[in-house]
Symmetry: C2
Subunit: 405 residues, 2 copies
């Protein structure tokens, strides 16, 4: 008898019929003799509706009250899911985040899980119940409702799995698992049976939409194995787990493309110590996430600095950077939005050389120009023209033999 | 500086515009220098929508989960109301029933308030906040969400007013206050400035739709004065309070008519000790509320027993009564649904005689036949034909000079 935590996102519980399907799936696991804790999100559309209501009473709603409001979305789903299980004759009890013992730090709308005391969950499981827990929410030490921000329900599931010492955590979503590349773009893309936390982290932070990186980080930290699988079928999905020796034989696990970045270029920056620090400290001060940074070798005392930020942050970044560039006597700040970041990820890169060279060769053979390059231990990223992205992805996928063989 | 508890029902907070109006009204009181605790219901229509959702996943939803589900309705309103106050520059914080310290006994969907520990409310008031509390809900000693059943938000307001030792509790509704009779039926009906708890109780239990009697009972027990007034205007409403000497000068405070009763008649019941007990214990065992009971004097060892129940309970009552009537050899059980109960209420009746005679005379003069009569210390009720109800109400209203003079 295993303890399995299952997480169902907003699409999976999007209407009463789907909630009944989720209940049936949970019951099958229960009937196979396992204990089940199910973490559910708000029904799709509900959260947006609540945000709209809030805007109608206050154009800039308070974050504490936003949390009180949004938490009703998951609370609705837990009750309905418990009822649906009961309709199948299965004992089930719903718990809000607070009732499940999820204590967060005090930051509203993007709280962090401080600790979980799942005493009530254990008691209910021992009494034969399926326990349905509201994702995305907890309560701070004062008892106020807090929400965990984007990807919060995944985090709830993985944190609960860690606290309960669950045997497995299953993240149900609308895709079959993690692929070698986006199957809508690369025809031969292959679903991965397994992937290491680090590889999953890189893919998550690189724009693969499956999961937020914070949930993967949490799973890695607490060694929680989890699978990503579809709520629409019984395919096994992709298991995300600690790295094994065998995994290193695979040089490249997958390829991702992020089209949501913009590049900023500051030309003719006087090459003095402290210049880069000055720029990027100013960006950090306004909580701007800078991704790739490239500084070219100095020519005649001047250098070019380029970096990328999310497209949404572009205006804000320019606003911070321009007065500083002017003050230091640099050239005019320019930005480029029609770019894409293509990344190769694989822990096998650590022990295999020539990966970068192979990638550059594949791109060259396909007339793809490289604008920026950045590498880490298990990743190579290049910035290319957005129009080249799909061609480049297919070329790299073929070059490294990632497709179905 | 007074502490005022204000309660706004579902219609008063039925959409974002109305919530903004409620916020403006609260702020006016706050700006006049008073502390305000506002108790709000679910936006009108929301609760029905949730019940419909529940039925789509389970035809007979579990009561514990129903409470979890329905509690989201008020939780949505508290957040929106707090946001609307903040938009006006007014400090405000929302609290769920549990967060406000409302502890109930464990009966789901119709919990009773066991006690209130409003420590958090006091702290927030002291810090200058308007505190918005979710009506209709609390948590039991295990921390599970419970709801208080029909009229639960009124009860929350009055119980909070008692626990906080508030100076006044205002129940905002869609009527201007308590009238001498239903103004839609009696043209000269007059709004009462004040009324005693006992009179209000009788009117509430007699079908005047303003408030549930349990809230009035609670107010009486804890001596909480409260006013019933409209959220649509600034009229002063009706103050409900402890009886004063002056109130006794008024013989009849008001008249109500309840058309929601049905009469059951059991003819030719053998007149033996214990027969009535047998019948009404059986009805009590299925939680059926019996209102008026009349047993005629015995003729030749047989008697007739008649009683009234709510129309919704008629089928259930017949189902209980018929086998017993058969067993005791009584005649065929009959029911009459086209009846109305007209009641006169006034604490002055205690010290004034002839009230019943005057009522019967007024009815006789208007050709209204009386089917059953029941009296208490401050009330006379008669069962009449439903078709006579409006005429009888107007006749009694005129007879006792209740109209605008």
């Amino acid at each position: 008898m295993a303890l399995i935590v299952k997480k169902f996102g907003g699409t999976s519980v999007g209407n009463p019929e789907r909630i009944r399907n989720v209940a049936a799936r949970i019951q099958r696991t229960r009937e196979a003799g396992h204990h089940v804790v199910a973490v559910v999100s708000a029904m799709s559309g509900v959260t947006d509706g609540l945000i709209k209501l809030a805007r109608e009473v206050n154009s800039n709603p308070n974050e504490r009250e936003m949390d009180v409001l949004l938490a009703t979305g998951e609370q609705t789903t837990i009750a309905l899911t418990a009822m649906a299980l009961q309709a199948l004759g299965q004992k089930a009890v719903s718990l809000t985040g607070a009732q499940a013992g999820i204590v967060t730090d005090g930051v509203h709308t993007k709280a962090k899980i401080a600790n979980i005391t799942p005493k009530r969950v254990h008691e209910l499981l021992a009494a034969g119940h399926v326990v349905i827990v509201a994702g995305f929410q907890g309560a701070n030490s004062e008892g106020a409702i807090t929400t965990l921000g984007r990807g919060g329900s995944d985090l709830t599931a993985i944190a609960l799995a860690a606290a309960l010492k669950a045997d497995l955590c299953e993240i149900y979503t609308d895709v079959d698992g993690v692929y070698t590349a986006d199957p809508r773009i690369v025809k031969g893309a292959r679903k991965l049976d397994e992937i290491s936390y680090d590889e999953m982290l890189e893919l998550a932070s690189l724009g693969a939409k499956v999961m937020q990186s914070r949930s993967v980080e949490f799973a890695k930290k607490f060694k929680v194995p989890f699978s990503v699988r579809s709520s629409m079928n019984d395919n096994p999905g992709t298991l995300v787990k600690e790295e094994t020796r065998k995994m290193e034989d695979v040089v490249i696990r997958g390829i991702s493309v992020d089209k949501n970045q913009a590049k900023i270029n500051i030309p003719k920056v006087p090459d003095r110590p402290g210049i880069a620090a000055r720029l990027f400290k100013a960006l950090a001060a306004v909580h701007l996430n800078v991704d790739m940074i490239v500084q070219n070798a100095s020519t005649e005392g001047f250098t070019d600095i380029s970096f990328t930020v999310g497209k949404d942050d572009l205006a804000k970044a320019r606003h911070v950077i321009e007065p500083i560039a002017k003050e230091m006597g640099a050239g005019a700040v320019a930005d480029y939005q029609k770019i894409a970041k293509l990344s190769l990820v694989g822990i096998g890169m650590r022990s295999h050389s020539g990966v970068a060279a192979d990638l550059f060769e594949a791109l060259a053979e396909n007339q793809v120009n490289i604008q920026m390059i950045s590498t880490s231990e298990i990743k190579i990223s290049v910035i290319i023209d957005a129009a080249d992205a799909d061609r480049a992805m297919n070329a790299a996928h073929a070059k490294f033999g990632l497709g179905i063989s």
